[in-house]
Amino acid sequence: MKAPSRVRQMPVLRVVARAMVPVILLFGLYVQFHGDFGPGGGFQAGVIFTAGLIVFGLVFGINVLQQVVSVTLTERLMATGVLLYGAVGLEAMILGGDFLDYSTLDLFTFGEQGQHLGIILIEVGVGIAVAATTLRIFYAFVGYRLDSRKGAEAFAGDGSAPGGESP
């Protein structure tokens, strides 16, 4: 599917989206990995990252986005994020601590940074799970139209007129 025609006639939208999407994705990563020093963390980062992807999908077409991040990939990443979180907890148990006791991870760090390492790892898990889940939910809404053979045009093409009805 090509980008919806009404959006294609809006060069400003396309140029701005092209310029902004990488910045949004980068900001998402910044929030992800700076969450232990400033406000933010995996949850917000995942949402911001997905917001960037959705902007891309709305302007350039959902199918172009799905070539980058397929539905199957989002479903796998949803589980991967949760599993990563749980794995860190189990890792702590294997190393002789309590479940999710990151102090046991001191082993892998220079000095006593196990807590810090653990927090970074589980925040990555949270970020992956949240980003994948929100994108999967978005795909569900968009894909429902695709499934029912109406096409995602009405939604993907013109955000100002959801439902494809004129006001």
Partner: protein, 184 residues
């Protein structure tokens, strides 16, 4: 209450009243996003930056997009209700009154002597840097001290995603039709 907070509160109140009265669901969805943004501004003024961040990203960002996505599957206008019903209105008024009654027992805004600032909080502020080695206390609490809770939350999010995927599908996978190959 400081004037900026008061102004934002009044704006928030006006926004939600308009949302409740609007029949145009598209405008209502956009105004819901604006209400979230105003709430995020209030949280910033209350020094709850992490909460404000989440409110702005989730409430004003993703929720609005998902509302619009849901709207694209249904009608743009709310169905006309014949006349307001008495029982739901009564339930709402009673619940609201109970909540307002509950706020009388809350400590005053910014009260340093409030219970929540006496118990646990001084320890957390004093010990986090030494125990966890990161400066952001909120992240330390969410990810380490309350690691179980956060794991539970992530599982809830996964469950929500799986639920929506099972209910709406939307994978684009149809028998005898390659995914997303729809030509216009």
């Amino acid at each position: 209450m400081p004037p900026v907070e008061l102004l934002l509160m009044l704006l928030l109140l006006a926004t939600v009243i308009v949302v409740a009265r609007l029949k145009d669901l598209f405008a209502a969805a956009m105004l819901t996003g604006i209400a979230s943004l105003i709430a995020a501004g209030l949280f910033v003024l209350m020094d709850a930056v992490d909460v404000a961040f989440t409110e702005a990203a989730v409430g004003a960002g993703i929720s609005t997009v998902l509302f619009l996505g849901a709207l694209s599957l249904t009608s743009r206008r709310e169905k006309q209700r014949e006349r307001p019903r008495a029982l739901p209105l009564l339930i709402v008024i009673v619940t609201g009154a109970a909540l307002i009654y509950g706020t009388w027992d809350l400590p005053a805004y910014g009260d340093a002597d409030a219970m929540i600032h006496q118990y646990l909080e001084p320890d957390l502020i004093a010990e986090t840097e030494r125990k966890i080695h990161i400066p952001n206390i909120v992240t330390a609490i969410l990810a380490s001290f309350r690691g179980y809770d956060t794991l539970g939350e992530v599982v809830v999010i996964l469950t929500a995603g799986v639920g929506v995927a099972l209910l709406l599908g939307g994978s684009g996978r149809r028998p005898g039709d390659a995914a997303g190959e729809e030509e216009r």
